[in-house]
Amino acid sequence: MNLDPIINYILIPLVKIGILFGILSLVIAYLTLLERKVIAFMQVRLGPMRVGYHGLLQPIADGVKLMLKEDIVPARADRLVFMLAPIITLIPAFIVFSVIPFGASSTIPIPAFTVPGLGWTYSGSMTGLFITDLNIGVLYVLSISSIGILGIILGGWASNSKYPLLGALRSAAQMVSYEVALGFSIMGVLMIAGSLSLVEIVNAQKNAGAWYVFLQPLGFILFFICGVAETNRAPFDLPEAETELVAGFHTEYSGFRFSLFFLAEYAAMIVVASMAVTLFWGGWLRPFPNVAFLSFLDYVPSPLWFALKVAVFLYFYLWFRASWPRYRYDQLMKVGWQWLMPLAIANVIVTAGVMLLLRG
Amino acid sequence: MPEPWTSPLVEALKAKFGDQVVKSYSFIGQNQIEIKKDRVLEIMMFLRDYEPSPFSYLVDETAVHWPKDESFELVYIMYSFAANDRLRVKCRIKEWESIESVVSVWPTANWLEREVYDMFGIRYANHPDLKRILLPEDWQGFPLRKDYNFRLQDVEWVRKHLGIESGQKYYVAEARAEAGDYVTPQD
């Protein structure tokens, strides 16, 4: 019996999903610790120090605490929606990772083998360092990320209380506004690369000999700003501003459900950082991929280059949070609609014009 | 040893309001005028707009309880930027009387008068929002009066809200009488 379809289409993806899920959960957990440590150092203090050596076991302690907490559902809340909302926010944040490439395609060989007694054969294949390579990758990422907004609105609504409602509405309006600018800001990249597939975009950067951030600097800046706004992080974190609305849309959530919202936020941060790296900073490529005498850098495996670049952007996220005050709601909307969107559209037009000129 | 004090301001006041001004004196360099309560609002407006040194800033408004002559002494302290000087205007009212509110002259008086009402029970006529400010809405009694028995207040509150007997009952005749015979530290 030919095991090809089973192994190629079911077993290998499952193994990759398992590995990715494990790594991702660990990364998100330690991102929370990193945030506290980095911000603490910027604020002349030390951050978590007690749990484990210099606080390294803090995320585990937090996770255990949140799971063991009492599950409080407000009396007049809509139970079903209340329980579904964090799940609706969390799942899209995770499944977006299925199209993000951590390495080139066809890099890991799976050897052919035959099971002697049963006569099963497998003819071997090469698999890439990503779960799948959708030819509409970018579209998939954008649309699945939008589902996360639904979870926030439902969470605020189902709590049946004023503070979460205000927070949810603000959050939804903010995310919708910045999504438009986000979409426009990456159009320049799509036009240059000529494809929606994320793997193709990175390969196109390799062929072009320059990371797209040098060809589309404005696009990158706009993308990153919109990305920060999408994930409700400082300076756009009004919906969950502690000092103004207590905790915004997740005021009424505690324990495990709160941890789901929390995880979703950090997962979304990593998504935005990964997208920025893939679209603008060459994905898994090493610096100067076409320069021969730097080829010793090839010994560093490509997922590590990817991780390094993503780490730089996550550091920027934390830096913004520690340094800047937050925008007021109307100023936030003004920045999104009156500044970012026109700039993004202008970027698209200019890129199109330059491409036409260069082509003939 | 208050000394009598006169100045163009006092003359102008006496000229305009005649017998409303009871006396004017100065103690430790601080000038005070005592007026009657009937035309308080007009006098305050006159002072606020008095030309060479308008008293545009009401510093404080408070009251002092003198149970011996059953009266309250209302004290208005105001300041004039032009003359860099303060003036204290006092007004005596009997315990059951109410007085005109000066909120229309200085908006500052809003909360200051609410506090006087809260602590002393003096009612102000034409105050936009006269209700308790520092104490809970349903509080009975006016604490800063000299006849307010705060030990009795303590005994009653503790009994009602905590269900136990307060230690202050040893010092309050009413609580002792009610509780029957027990020995207090003073006996």
Binding site: T243, R326, R328 | Q30, W111, P136
Partner: protein, 371 residues
């Protein structure tokens, strides 16, 4: 709600901000009527911290009441003490000796810096700039150490007595204060680089909570809030007390009466306080610490009002004495109480996020408001 009405049909929501809220600086309840994000009306409910300080003043002796006063404006406790001691001294007709006056001035100005640092930290924290909070507290820690070395307490200090001060300066006081003064202006520069030119900060504070000079005087606003509106009035210059007439300092004045101007006024005041301490620390005269007063304090019959420039505004004491060992009426005129009245007119018409900024800029302390 009927079945056809939904939550979104209601055009006005009433939200109660507080009494438990991360940014109302104490137990303050603000009842906001909101139309979407716009504030239609704001009503302050206070009294959650009322402890009967004025009634205590009538039942404790003149000297016993002083520690109670520290608990009023607990952030700037030294000013409360100074105001009261000066009032009683005035009533009794004694003056504290020059050495005590200088020590009082130095401590009060350090206290002003520490109060403004706390204001800066919490105000920035409310608007979102978390880091400034920790930097400000780092500096404040130095001042609190000096206070602790001097009188044993960091917060509720009870530093002065009626007639002068009780404690002598400790060894190393001059050096510690001089080290602090030398390093402090750079720290103020550091906070300014984080905030003053920051677009987001300017956006959150320019044009927010505007009050004109005329309205400010009418509502009784005093202190840096009044100076931010353009009225150059400071009790340290208008009616000098303690040793202020010996020193040179400027009064910063704002222009537009908005939150940004009040912020700049307070930052500059910190620098000016530094300047005063720098001038005073070298010239402390020798001499006794206490004036000659009787052991049992019995002021003559009469009443008096005296006020000082506390960090928050004009802190005044109206004392009525009938010759006994206890006051007949002890009234405190708290600056934050009168300043808070201005909240309503500053906030109507602006957004919810601005309410938090305005509460921060008025610099209120509930201990003082509620007494």
């Amino acid at each position: 709600m009927s079945t056809n009405e939904t939550l979104f049909d209601a055009s006005e929501i009433t939200i109660s901000m507080g009494p438990q809220h991360p940014s109302t600086h104490g137990v303050l309840q603000v009842k906001l009527k909101l139309d979407g994000e716009r504030v239609d009306d704001a009503e302050c409910v206070i009294g959650y911290l009322h402890r009967g300080v004025e009634k205590l003043g009538e039942n404790q002796t003149w000297g016993q009441w002083v520690p109670t006063l520290d608990r009023m404006d607990y952030i700037a406790a030294v000013s409360n003490c100074l105001g009261y001691c000066e009032t009683v001294e005035k009533l009794m007709g004694v003056t504290a000796p020059p050495r005590a006056q200088y020590i009082r001035t130095i401590m009060t100005e350090l206290n002003r810096i520490s109060s403004h640092l706390l204001w800066l930290g919490t105000h920035a924290l409310d608007i979102g700039a978390m880091t400034v909070f920790l930097y400000a507290f780092r500096e404040r820690e130095e001042i609190l150490k000096i206070f602790e070395n001097y009188c044993g307490a960091r917060l509720t200090t009870h530093m002065f007595r009626i007639g002068g001060t009780q404690y002598e300066l400790y060894e190393g006081f001059q050096d510690e204060v001089k080290t602090f003064i030398k390093g402090f202006p750079q720290k103020v520069e550091e906070y300014e680089t984080l905030l003053t030119e920051n677009r987001i900060w300017i956006g959150r504070t320019r044009g927010v909570g505007v009050i004109s000079a005329k309205d400010a005087i009418a509502i009784g606003l005093t202190g840096p809030s009044l100076r931010g509106s353009g009225v150059a009035w400071d009790l340290r210059k208008a009616k000098p007390y303690a040793a202020y007439s010996d020193f040179e300092f400027d009064i910063p004045v704002g222009e537009h009466g908005d939150t940004y101007d009040r912020y700049m006024v307070r930052m500059e005041e910190m620098r000016q306080s530094c300047r005063i301490v720098g001038q005073a620390i070298d010239k402390i005269p020798d001499g006794p610490l206490m004036a000659k007063i009787t052991k049992i304090i019995k002021p003559p019959v009469g009443d008096i009002y005296h006020s000082i420039e506390a960090p928050k505004g004009e802190l005044g004491y109206y004392l009525v004495s009938d010759g006994a060992t206890q006051a007949y009426r002890a009234r405190v005129r708290p600056p934050s109480f009168v300043n808070l009245q201005a909240l309503r007119q500053m906030v109507i018409g602006s957004m919810v996020a601005d309410v938090v900024a305005v509460i921060g800029t008025l610099d209120i302390v509930l201990g003082e408001i509620d007494r």
